[in-house]
Symmetry: C2
Subunit: 221 residues, 2 copies
């Protein structure tokens, strides 16, 4: 069975968990306190980051590379479209969320509020939190604009781009940092993706010191 070293609220781990679950690949989850730099973990990934996935007799790091590998080896159901043009759009959006959204929003809200406390790295920087709270509005508006002429973020089928976006938003939703009233289109999109069986494990996550808000796992939020 596959084994994923992860932390529950990491969007990069969640993207991999969603891909594995959608493709019905059974996977044991192992929480890894990567910031403690355990020598065994550093051997598995010298970059000292999660996710790290053991699958097919190999140990893999870097969530984008892992998801492309899963897609190539376990193509059903597909999370990438067929044409190069459509595949480009999926990868562009995965990059948008894992790079731009991550830097402007996730690192400024989730990392300040949760990671700093969990890793005992100090108190949230209020300037960062304020900047993150401002930036997420712009990103939600961008998603609303995309969803205005598409069923899913990258086109008419659900893809890895939706999982990348949902991974970030679900982690921020856990700490009540998403204003779902900002866009009906984004809310409907999230309700659709949240109700997929692949999302169940993510909705069951519990982080000590950060109780799950009541709406988080509610499919009719």
């Amino acid at each position: 069975m596959a084994k994923l070293y992860h932390v529950p609220l990491s969007p990069f781990c969640r993207k991999v968990r969603l891909s594995l679950a959608e493709k019905k690949i059974e996977c044991e989850l192992v929480e890894e306190k990567y910031w403690e730099k355990d020598p065994d973990f550093l051997r598995r990934n010298p970059a000292a980051k999660v996710p790290v996935l053991k699958i097919d007799g190999r140990t893999m790091a870097e969530s984008a590379a892992i998801c492309e590998y899963i897609e190539e080896k376990y193509p059903e159901p597909p999370l990438m479209p067929r044409s190069s043009e459509a595949r480009y759009e999926v990868r562009r959006l995965v990059g948008w969320f894992d790079d731009k959204f991550h830097n402007e929003v996730t690192s400024k809200l989730l990392y300040e509020r949760v990671n700093k406390k969990v890793t005992k790295a100090g108190f949230p920087d209020s300037g960062n939190v304020k900047a993150g709270a401002k930036a997420i509005k712009y990103h939600l508006d961008y998603m609303a604009w995309l969803l205005d002429h598409r069923r899913w973020l990258a086109g008419d089928t659900m893809t890895l781009a939706d999982f990348a976006a949902a991974a970030h938003l679900s982690s921020l939703d856990y700490i009540r940092d998403v204003d779902w009233n900002r866009s009906e289109a984004v809310k409907d999109w999230y309700a659709k993706i949240k109700s997929r069986p692949a999302f169940r494990s993510i909705l069951a996550d519990q982080v000590p010191g950060f109780p799950q808000p009541p709406h988080y796992a509610d499919l009719d939020f």
Copy 2:
């Protein structure tokens, strides 16, 4: 003809330039002062970043997504191996350089020394420069370790992983921040990649205010 909006020392632009040149795709280079946020440029890429590539009647952003697209549409000569396992390794290393190396080295040396001056964003932070100068040693050692049992970074053929790494190192070499005496293996690898025709345009780059050092374009440095 394709058109690339870029800045000369951006490693992300250089990776795309190397891919295009290796595949002999003709491309006009247009310098884009992305930090001035020209409305026309923002229309081309709302993320306000370079590279932006116009090709096949489309406008594309995000260097990783662009390179995968080029590879799919223009497969010869290949910059990705065939097997999913080998492709994973290429993508892992592209992620290593564009994420980890970028954060720990490029942003701390190149961005402090060059980008801050060019964009009039202040003076280099000496703490960052010191951290970058320390981190690059560790990365060169990691490359030496990889090259100890491989001809190229990801295996026995030259791939996108080599271009990603060479893109970062060549930009840092332009500002004399690479100690080529640290590893014979890395120096040999760079000499091999530097002497490819695809590298010529990069070796011809000139940045006002930052004269090219004599060894930079020397193939027998």
